[in-house]
């Protein structure tokens, strides 16, 4: 093999290696969750839970009267927002073990907004989900007002993460047009409660 042939072969191998590196999937892509898309009013099945979004509303303040009697005299959290609240009412049925919806997100144009921890007990984020039992309640997300007014808000995604690190797991996702929703003064929040799956929106 001539020196020129060896040089060309080396360059070709280096080029092939460069292409392989440049086109290799990133770590995040390799372990990315599987998105299970659905619509409002439609049950979405995933590995850990079935989720049915009943209603989405936008408001400047939350009505937390569901917690009446559960605060034991503690002050009601002030929920008057400098931004807005996106309140999602939904039914959730864990498939085979408990889940934690506390890491759920609203995503708008690549920006991820996490579910608020402001809701008092009993709320969906602190609820112990028993497999097979449908639970109804609300999740609230606090966002800058500019986020829901942006054009990208018409393609906002509600992403229900059943655990904090959802790598390679299936994740129920609902696309909503937040921009089309009116901004109310107050949005009612539902406390979490077990329901008959045949009841209301879940049935």
């Amino acid at each position: 093999m001539s020196r020129l042939t060896r040089a060309l072969a080396t360059v070709a191998l280096l080029a092939a290696g460069g292409v392989a590196i440049a086109t290799a999937p990133t770590d995040d892509t390799i372990v990315a969750p599987f998105v299970e898309r659905g619509e409002v009013g439609e049950p979405i099945e995933s590995r850990l839970a079935t989720v049915l979004v009943d209603e989405v509303s936008v408001a400047r303040e939350l009505d937390l009267s569901y917690a009446e009697g559960a605060l034991f005299g503690a002050p009601v959290p002030d929920t008057r927002s400098a931004g807005v609240w996106v309140v999602v009412s939904l039914d959730v049925t864990a498939t085979y073990r408990g889940i934690d919806l506390g890491s759920s997100e609203v995503r708008i144009d690549g920006v991820r907004y996490r579910a608020s921890t402001v809701l008092p007990d009993p709320d969906l984020q602190s609820f112990a989900f028993d497999p097979g039992v449908t639970v109804r309640g609300s999740i609230a997300f606090e966002l800058p007002a500019s986020a829901v007014r942006s054009p990208a808000a018409s393609r906002a995604e509600l992403v229900f993460l059943p655990r904090a690190v959802p790598s390679l797991d299936s994740v129920p996702t609902v696309r909503v047009d937040l921009r089309a929703l009116p901004v109310d003064d107050v949005a009612e929040v539902e406390g979490a409660r077990a329901v008959d799956p045949a009841e209301g929106a879940g049935g």
């Binding site: 995040d28 559960a70 005299g73 503690a74 008057r80 920006v111 996490r114 921890t117 966002l143």
Partner: protein, 212 residues
């Protein structure tokens, strides 16, 4: 018996430098590289940049402005009195997450040195002033008033005492085996400011004052 080497091969062998010369050359290159980067001497300690009182620390994730420092008889977020022997040093700051992801760094964002009452390793409780609840993350683009609170011996600090506030940062680590490119290294102090303990607000900002 092998054939004698050709004159050209013998010339090539003669021109090749001995192994010890190659090794010495490599060592010299390594020493020159280390020396050009400052050698093995300890990096001299540098003073942290000072942010003027009331100024904003612009971090990679969070922008932080200390708004007031005071002593509170009740734990922020509650109306419960502390024990007779203690009170709370509260550093109240406006915090804004400037990234596209929720930031959980708020609990490591600030440390203070206040006389002998609080040292830099003491972790504060972090409370959102509006709701009175623990602040576990900062939402992108949504400023929040955070109360960093340390329980101190009553009388250990007084109005007018100086408090040194250190701002911390964490920097991304790429290719983490568990968290991929979403991982961060250990918190690092990047700036400091000084403040003075002032009068406590008339009433701690907890909820809307009503109870269900």
């Amino acid at each position: 018996m092998s054939a004698p080497a050709s004159p050209a091969a013998r010339a090539t062998r003669r021109r090749r430098p001995p192994w010890w010369l190659c090794t010495a050359g490599a060592v010299a290159v390594a020493i020159a590289a280390v020396a050009s980067l400052g050698g093995f001497a300890d990096t001299p300690a540098r003073r942290l940049p000072v942010i003027a009182e009331g100024g904003t620390h612009v971090g990679g994730q969070l922008e932080t402005t200390v708004e007031r420092i005071y002593l509170a008889p009740t734990r922020p977020g509650t109306d419960y009195d502390s024990s007779d022997d203690t009170e709370f040093l509260v550093v109240e700051a406006r915090v804004e997450n400037t990234t596209a992801l929720p930031s959980t760094f708020v609990d490591r964002l600030v440390r203070v040195i206040a006389g002998n009452a609080v040292v830099e390793t003491d972790r504060p409780a972090v409370i959102e002033a509006r709701t009175g609840q623990a602040l576990s993350f900062a939402q992108p683009g949504l400023p929040v008033t955070a109360q960093f609170a340390w329980e101190v011996d009553r009388g250990a600090l007084e109005i007018g005492d100086t408090v040194f506030v250190g701002f911390f940062e964490q920097f991304p680590i790429y290719g983490d085996p568990v968290f991929g490119d979403d991982a961060f290294g250990a918190p690092t102090p990047t700036a400091r400011t000084e403040g003075t303990i002032g009068e406590a607000p008339a009433r701690s900002t907890v909820g809307d004052g009503s109870a269900l």
